[in-house]
């Protein structure tokens, strides 16, 4: 009897072997800033990838063409620098064999990396706001976040009309991202009758802005713009400009930095601050995602995170639809074919053909919020055409 039992157990174990061998791994890369001032954005991207991976792994893996894939997230830090992003990407693509990357984060890293990722047919999901991040030349580059050249015009128009600001100043990082955002801001403010009277550039490592803010304040500005700055930097700018006695409105047209601004600058300094709000914090799905993220990462949610979570989910759906995880041409086509796809942001689509000749920009509504009593209160809902 014991012999039969042993034989049965052995045969069961042997039968299970091919099954265990067929459980394959799908590597999902994260290439973002995981140290320094842009960390809040990097963690938002890494968190999105890890939470989406958790979702599919909890169901036994991502099922594509009858095979189950366990999703493994591999994250590298680009230090918000082009050279480091390129090095990390090469490691991802050639050593790890990764075909799907959440990243790059900034415009400078994106411009350095996209030609190589395109050549190697790697699908990327970038946060780079530069218009050059989307183009027919970079056919595997998707952008889930709404860039400033989409949201800045309607938002700036709304804020300028509401505040009546005529003279605006701002500090921008001295790289491709900062230069591009600075130029876009200047044009957007001038288009609605305000003048950008003080525009200064600084190296990203800088933490003491008092000399530069003093220089900006000498131009008698009515409002101060924070666009183009990483969350920690934006927060330090708010803190330091208030310490210099500036009581006028501060405008954050750029990517989400609300949690960091409130945390670092404090309640008092953040009164009269208008911020770009990519998500509606009152939405049920967003509330649920926020709780999940904050429970896991023990830090406030950066509002860009749900956009990447949505894009990763779309990528998984596209792989299933295309029936492959290796042929990124087919996955890309399947992703572009997704219409009214249900995500944490609501139903989303792809746009951008008219603006960048690349229909790989995610479309979702965005908001303007006023910081009051240490909280963000939505004061306007926007589309690429207008805020109201």
């Amino acid at each position: 009897m014991r012999g039969i039992l042993k034989a049965a157990l052995l045969s069961t174990a042997l039968a299970a072997l091919p099954c265990a061998a067929s459980a394959e791994t799908l590597k999902l890369g994260v290439l973002a800033t995981l140290s320094g001032a842009g960390t809040a954005w990097g963690i938002a991207m890494q968190g999105a990838a890890e939470l989406a991976a958790e979702d599919v792994n909890a169901t036994g893996g991502l099922e594509v063409a009858g095979k189950k894939y366990k999703v493994e997230v591999v994250a590298y830090d680009d230090h918000y620098k082009a050279a480091d992003a390129l090095t990390a990407f090469n490691r991802m693509a050639f050593d790890d064999g990764i075909k799907y990357v959440v990243g790059p984060l900034g415009s400078a890293p994106a411009l350095a990396m996209l030609p190589v990722s395109t050549e190697n047919k790697v699908i990327t999901m970038t946060m780079a706001f530069t218009p050059k991040a989307l183009s027919p030349d970079f056919k595997y580059s998707f952008r889930p976040v709404i860039p400033s050249d989409v949201f800045s015009d309607p938002q700036i128009k709304w804020v300028v009309q509401k505040l009546g600001a005529k003279r605006v100043g701002g500090l921008f990082p001295n790289d491709e991202s900062g230069q591009q955002v600075g130029a876009a801001n200047e044009a957007a403010y001038q288009a609605v009758g305000a003048k950008f009277v003080a525009k200064e550039f600084f190296e990203r490592e800088r933490v003491d802005f008092v000399p530069l803010l003093t220089r900006v304040l000498a131009q008698n500005i009515d409002a101060f713009e924070l666009d183009g700055n990483a969350p920690q930097t934006a927060a330090l700018l708010v803190k330091q400009i208030r310490e210099l006695g500036f009581k006028g409105p501060i405008i954050r047209t750029g990517g989400d930095a609300t949690a960091d601004i409130l945390k670092i600058a404090g309640k008092e300094a953040t009164e009269n601050v208008y911020v770009h709000q990519p998500i509606n914090p009152d939405s049920g799905a967003i509330k649920e995602y926020t709780k999940r993220f904050e429970d896991k990462y023990k830090q406030p949610l950066n509002a860009f995170s749900p956009f990447f979570y949505a894009n990763v989910k779309m990528t998984f759906a596209a792989m299933q639809k295309a029936g492959t995880v290796t042929d990124t041409d087919k996955v890309r086509d399947a992703m572009l074919a997704l219409k009214d796809f249900d995500t944490v942001l609501g139903k989303v689509n792809w746009i951008g053909e008219a603006q960048w000749k690349s229909n790989q920009q995610l479309d979702a509504p965005f908001y303007v919020a006023l910081l009051k009593g240490g909280e963000a209160h939505v004061v306007a809902k926007c589309t690429p055409k207008l805020c109201e």
């Binding site: 995981l34 140290s35 600084f202 003093t214 220089r215 670092i264």
Partner: protein, 289 residues
């Protein structure tokens, strides 16, 4: 904003960053003057001081002065241990000693990333608000840095001038062999000097934490500036480090305020080169015999 306000703000900010550079550079130059070791890990001790200040102030909720003392004490003792175990074996070989400090720097920084994560942590202000005098507005948190740095430096100066240990350190700095003949235990002075040196860096880090923020990478810029300051002031000269720190702080602040950040970086180093062309041994340094 008038021209006078612009200059007043620039002067105040120059004093703040000058004070930080001075505290960093005095410690840095002390190690070199006494031990002939260029401590590449000096910035990491600044970072450890900032983190100690952060944890004690935020988690324990105790007066900031006590946090400063704890930061100086913990980092100072750690520095003494580091000197005794990792730097002393290379005392006869300056180059190996420098490489050892470079390794210590990498170990401490990466250890901090593993332990506390890479993200910057905001530290609450010790004092909030600004001092408004007519059209001038000076942040209290920055004024506190200037006052605290002046007090710390005065205490350090008294320690060096009036105590047996301070005098022993100066004697070793001037001539190690003569100090030995006079009965000074050089082997005891070295770790103590290193401890005092890194405690000064820790005090600078803890003081600046609330003004900027705290992260494993905060030591890099002050370290670089400390290098420039000691070269400017004269390698091994404590008064030179004080003068150099304040001069560099002022140059940085005024050039950034008047010409902007990018021109400021060029002008700062250009002025330093010019000063060194006129005085190759630094502002208060002594020529090598």
């Amino acid at each position: 904003m008038g021209y006078s306000i612009l200059l007043a703000q620039a002067a105040l900010n120059g004093l703040v960053i000058g004070a930080m550079y001075t505290l960093m550079a005095v410690g840095f130059t002390l190690t070199f003057g006494i031990m002939r070791v260029v401590n590449f890990a000096h910035g990491e001790f600044y970072m450890l001081g900032a983190f100690t200040g952060f944890f004690t102030y935020v988690c324990w909720d105790i007066p900031f002065v006590v946090c400063l003392l704890i930061a100086a004490l913990i980092v100072g003792i750690l520095g003494m241990l580091v000197e005794r175990t990792l730097i002393q074996p290379f005392r006869a070989d300056e180059m190996s000693g420098m490489i050892a400090t470079l390794a210590i720097s990498v170990i401490i920084q990466n250890g901090a990333v593993l332990l506390w994560g890479p993200q910057p942590r905001p530290m609450p202000d010790i004092v909030t608000g600004s001092l408004a005098i007519g059209p001038f507005s000076f942040s209290w948190s920055r004024l506190v840095v200037i006052a605290a740095a002046a007090l710390i430096f005065a205490l350090f100066w008294l320690f060096m001038q009036r105590t047996r240990l301070g005098r022993a350190m100066r004697a070793v700095a001037q001539d190690t062999e003569t100090a030995l003949i006079q009965g000074i235990r050089v082997n005891h002075v070295y770790p103590l000097a290193f401890g005092v040196s890194v405690a000064l860096a820790a005090l600078a880090g803890a003081l600046m934490g609330p003004v900027f923020s705290v992260s494993p990478f905060v030591g890099a810029t002050p370290m670089l500036k400390a290098f420039v300051v000691v070269i400017l002031g004269g390698l091994g000269s404590v008064p030179g480090a004080v003068v150099g720190g304040l001069v560099l702080g002022m140059i940085e602040s005024f050039t950034a305020t008047i010409f902007g950040s990018l021109v400021s970086d060029i002008l700062q180093l250009l002025l330093v080169i010019l000063i060194l062309l006129v005085r190759p041994s630094g502002l208060l340094g002594q020529r090598e015999a």
